[in-house]
């Protein structure tokens, strides 16, 4: 074992898993016509404290630990996992994973190198957020509640929570790679309900987080703006009118509306869908899929971001992957399996929810590069349209390319100026087509505040998105008014 202060050594000390145990398990998993085998160890702690009705009612704390063993032959993957991290459980899982690939044993021997520490150090957090005393989190939520209720008498409910995670992982693979990482994650959520005339109620939400120390969120100067925004949003929506239906020129605000990129193009560029040829973007590398000036990036290396990782869940260092460059499709997002089958390089996008799940190509932080237009000028350029300032969630049909997402704050634009707020607006479009309709790109790129969670095939992973203000011509708006 190496020095005891590395994450890999911590696994060794805690569970008795060192190079000998890893090599034995990988050797077992390789006894067959196996191209690749890997072991994924996880020991995570998650806790959350939540407040509603003015009191911090409950705290919870969950320990998740286990090991997953994968054996890959061609396109076939065998996976077995156990919630024990013991030599016995590891051997059993390795045998099961291997047995899925029938055939004559190859007789594998593996020498792991390391343990290595990731080259990146994107989240040097000294105190794990799960080790911050509960009393500190309780005090924060109490302060948020008092502040929110004092802001406006129409606020009738405040729900807030602090959710913290410390994820320790270690990956060892049959090519000798051996690496471990410690991934802190913090999220602060504020949701308020405002009651207006005739008992009408609206909700406002704002949150923030990232792979950062909880201390960064404890100062009033960091959490008060979140409460201000949640309250403002609820009050704006009290006055919101039903949204019109039909095709409009739409201006998307900076930051979280980057969820458009995530849904409209990001998923469709994940390697698994393209290897299988079931994505609307399949076989379109080198083709124009966006207007000139549109460049879309996935970058897992941004310090402290919710979607960032020193290494992905297969041990590959994360990177900055250009997906669309000046309107031309240039790249896909890959895990190891799909990169190998397509003859590409892994991009550090192999991610999984936990040791109980197989890795898949997933996004990290996905955003559009800034352009040169003045955001105010972009608004002024629209005669009759919609300004979508922030969004709830979205969804995409990878194969047909159709996507939809819901605005949580939107306004009518009349003659280049914001008019009344609108409620219940959703936007629908076609992924390979929507970015070709981008006619203006603002200079104001913003990344979201760190609350995104992406679901795929039943697995959730934290992600980030970003966008400058953009104008999209002729997008279908789904409202109720004709």
């Amino acid at each position: 074992m190496s020095s005891p202060n590395t994450p890999a050594a911590a696994f060794g000390a805690r569970f008795g898993i060192g190079s000998r145990e890893l090599e034995r398990a990988l050797g077992t998993a390789l006894e067959g016509p196996i191209d690749h085998a890997d072991l994924f160890f996880e020991a995570s702690t998650q806790d959350s404290v939540s407040l509603e009705d003015g009191i911090v009612k409950s705290g919870d704390r969950h320990l998740v630990q286990g090991v997953g063993v994968r054996a890959v032959a061609g396109e076939k993957q065998g996976y077995a996992h156990a919630d024990d991290i013991t030599v016995e459980a590891l051997q059993l899982a390795a045998g099961t994973a291997r047995s899925i690939a029938a055939g004559s044993p190859r007789g594998g021997t593996v020498a792991v190198r390391g343990p290595g520490a990731p080259a990146l150090d994107l989240y040097p957090v000294a105190l794990s957020p799960t080790d911050v005393p509960v009393a500190t989190k309780v005090a924060l939520l109490d302060a948020i509640d008092r502040y929110a209720r004092a802001k406006d008498p129409r606020i009738v409910q405040v729900m807030a929570s602090v959710v913290c995670q410390q994820r320790n992982l270690m990956v060892a693979a049959s090519d000798g790679a051996w690496v471990a990482d410690v991934q802190p994650l913090v999220r602060l959520n504020v949701q308020v309900i405002a009651q207006g005339a005739e008992g009408r109620r609206e909700v406002g939400y704002q949150g923030a987080g990232g792979r950062r120390a909880l201390a960064e969120f404890l100062q009033p100067s960091s959490w008060q703006p979140l409460v201000d925004e949640a309250v403002r949003l609820a009050l704006v929506n009290l006055d919101a009118r039903p949204c019109p239906a039909g095709a409009f020129d739409v201006v998307l605000g900076p930051g979280w509306p980057g969820v458009l990129l995530h849904e409209a193009v990001g998923h469709g560029l994940e390697g698994d869908f393209n290897r299988k040829g079931v994505s609307a973007f399949s076989g379109r590398i080198g083709q124009r899929v966006a207007a000139p000036g549109v460049s879309v990036i996935d970058d897992g290396t941004l310090p402290g971001r919710r979607g960032s990782l020193n290494v992905d869940d297969e041990g590959t260092p994360t990177g900055r992957t250009v997906l669309i460059e000046d309107g031309i499709l240039v790249g896909y997002l890959h895990d190891r399996l799909n990169a190998r089958l397509m003859g590409h390089k892994p991009t550090g996008n192999g991610r999984r929810q936990s040791y109980a799940h197989l890795p898949m190509p997933r996004m990290t932080n996905t955003f559009m590069l800034a352009g040169s237009d003045d955001p105010h000028e972009i608004l002024r350029s629209v005669k009759n349209g919609l300004y979508a300032k922030t969004f709830g969630g979205g969804q995409v049909d990878i194969t047909s390319g159709k996507f939809v997402f819901s605005a949580s704050e939107a306004y009518r634009i009349v003659d280049g100026a914001l008019a009344e707020p609108l409620r219940g607006a959703s936007l629908i479009g076609n992924g390979p087509d929507v970015l070709t309709r981008v006619s203006r790109i603002g200079s104001d790129l913003e990344l979201d505040l760190g609350v995104g969670t992406c679901g795929k095939d039943g697995q959730s992973v934290p992600v980030g998105v970003g966008l400058p203000t953009i104008r999209v011509d002729g997008l279908t708006v789904g409202g109720t008014e004709r």
């Binding site: 320990l63 309900i193 609206e202 079931v278 629908i428």
Partner: protein, 461 residues
């Protein structure tokens, strides 16, 4: 080195783990406590074309402990969970729970149910022991049959996301310091197929699935594959329609999604928080008189069935909406107390979480006739076969989701449509239900028949 304490030999059985957790919580100073142990053996296989794509096998055990600690004017509570089931780890977990609870605020509403626990645990046909004889190869063969049925259905089916089969055997053990202890076993199996069709350079995909407690009641893989193929082919050549208002028919699978949106608004938590558009509607007309909605935790073989809920209360049949009138919420002990009511046996809980209030087996009672009969009654309008996106606001009932399906002319499918949204307010939509089909179909624990809504706004080109 702690590996000896973690070895399988040192693990406890479910009921022993629960009892030890309760003892240790009490010893650590808890006022009261309950614990859930869940154990699951699962297998999932996916095939694609003629190849096995993935085989994933798992065995998971989780112990969750909820403790209450004394406080001024109420109880403080906390919840912890772990997959580490050694005696030492359980003791530590119980002590951590009590320490965590002491850091939270007292809540006058918090606490275990005092009485009303399930006294008999009926056999709800939640598993068939014979199904355990199936091997991994058998499940692969089932998935392959579904894939073959989908791929072979029509030459325009050119590709697929694959077909999968999954099976899980689960044991739940629950105990509380209020004096209840119970356990039950269940199984769940599912089949899923998702072919891809291509025509004129455009691809479409749709899925179909079946899920059940026993293999005998699972739809045949041939049916799952064929229906997935039919639904996929039906979308080929889909186009947008012009923005309009029109009557909308939801097929049974799309109607089931509407019910899912509605179910969240019936949860006692959404109601007492004032976060449901139904919050002040108890006893009032909330839907057309044709609409009756039932939740029944004891439906034989139901995927939401269980003999007792997550707090040891007996599950039962609850009439939620009767002839359009809202009759009951979905309640666990906490949300019931907040509303001055009693639990309806709807405490939903997994080992690692606090109880919430949710449906067991929830369905809309069917009318008569099938989907085709509903269509024949429609001069022009939209048939929705699938929805996507998250455009539903439970606080206001505002509804705007992406949809696909068919444009209907003179009672027949004229052409497939896509890239449209349908919008309205869920309250008004339910009030405007004009007709219900007799084709009630469950997928998982939710079921609905096809239904027709008089008018919605459709946004398109």
């Amino acid at each position: 080195m702690t590996s000896s304490a973690l070895s399988p030999q040192a693990r406890l059985s479910g009921s022993n783990a629960v009892q030890l957790a309760l003892e240790r919580a009490r010893a650590a100073g808890a006022h009261s406590a309950d614990a859930v142990f869940a154990e699951s053996d699962a297998l999932e296989v996916r095939v694609r074309g003629t190849q096995v794509d993935t085989v994933s096998q798992s065995r998971e055990r989780t112990l969750g402990i909820r403790v209450f600690a004394d406080g001024p004017g109420g109880l403080r509570s906390a919840l912890t969970s772990s997959s580490d089931l050694s005696r030492a780890a359980i003791a530590r977990l119980a002590e951590d729970s009590v320490a965590l609870a002491r850091a939270t605020a007292p809540d006058p509403t918090a606490g275990l149910p005092a009485d009303g626990f399930a006294s008999e645990l009926p056999d709800l046909a939640l598993f068939d022991p014979a199904d355990r004889a199936l091997t991994t190869a058998d499940w692969i063969a089932l998935a392959q049959r579904a894939e073959d049925a989908a791929r072979g259905f029509d030459p325009r089916i050119t590709n697929s996301e694959g077909a999968s089969a999954s099976t899980a055997q689960t044991a739940i053990c629950y105990g509380s310091s209020a004096g209840f202890a119970g356990e039950y076993q269940s199984a769940s199996h599912s089949l899923y197929a998702q072919p891809v069709a291509a025509q004129d350079g455009a691809m479409q995909t749709a899925w179909w699935a079946s899920a059940s407690r026993t293999l005998a009641s699972l739809d045949s893989p041939e049916d799952v594959g064929r229906i997935a193929a039919e639904r996929t082919l039906g979308q080929l050549g889909a186009r947008r329609i012009a923005t309009c208002e029109a009557p909308v028919i939801f097929d049974a699978s799309a109607a089931r999604e509407l019910l899912g949106n509605f179910a969240g608004c019936l949860s006692g938590y959404a109601v007492y928080r004032g976060a449901s558009f139904l919050r002040e509607k108890n006893g009032q007309q909330v839907a057309s008189e044709r609409v009756t909605i039932v939740d029944d935790g004891r439906r034989r073989g139901g995927l939401g069935s269980k003999p007792f809920d997550g707090e040891g209360q007996p599950t039962r049949r609850n009439l939620l909406v009767e002839g359009g009138v809202l009759r009951s919420w979905l309640l666990d002990t906490y949300s019931a107390r907040k509303l001055g009511l009693r639990s309806t046996g709807n405490a939903a809980r997994h080992a690692g979480g606090a109880p919430s209030a949710g449906p067991t087996n929830l369905w809309i009672e069917p009318g008569a006739g099938d989907l085709e009969a509903l269509l024949r009654g429609l001069e022009r309008g939209l048939l929705v076969t699938g929805m996507f996106g998250h455009g539903f606001n439970p606080v206001t009932g505002d509804f705007s989701r992406g949809a696909r399906g068919f444009w209907i002319e003179r009672g027949a499918r004229a052409y497939p449509v896509e890239e449209i949204t349908i919008a309205g307010n869920l309250g008004e939509m339910l009030a405007n239900v004009e007709a219900l089909g007799g084709d009630l179909r469950f997928l998982g624990s939710l079921g609905a028949p096809s239904l027709r809504i008089a008018r919605m706004t459709i946004a398109g080109a």
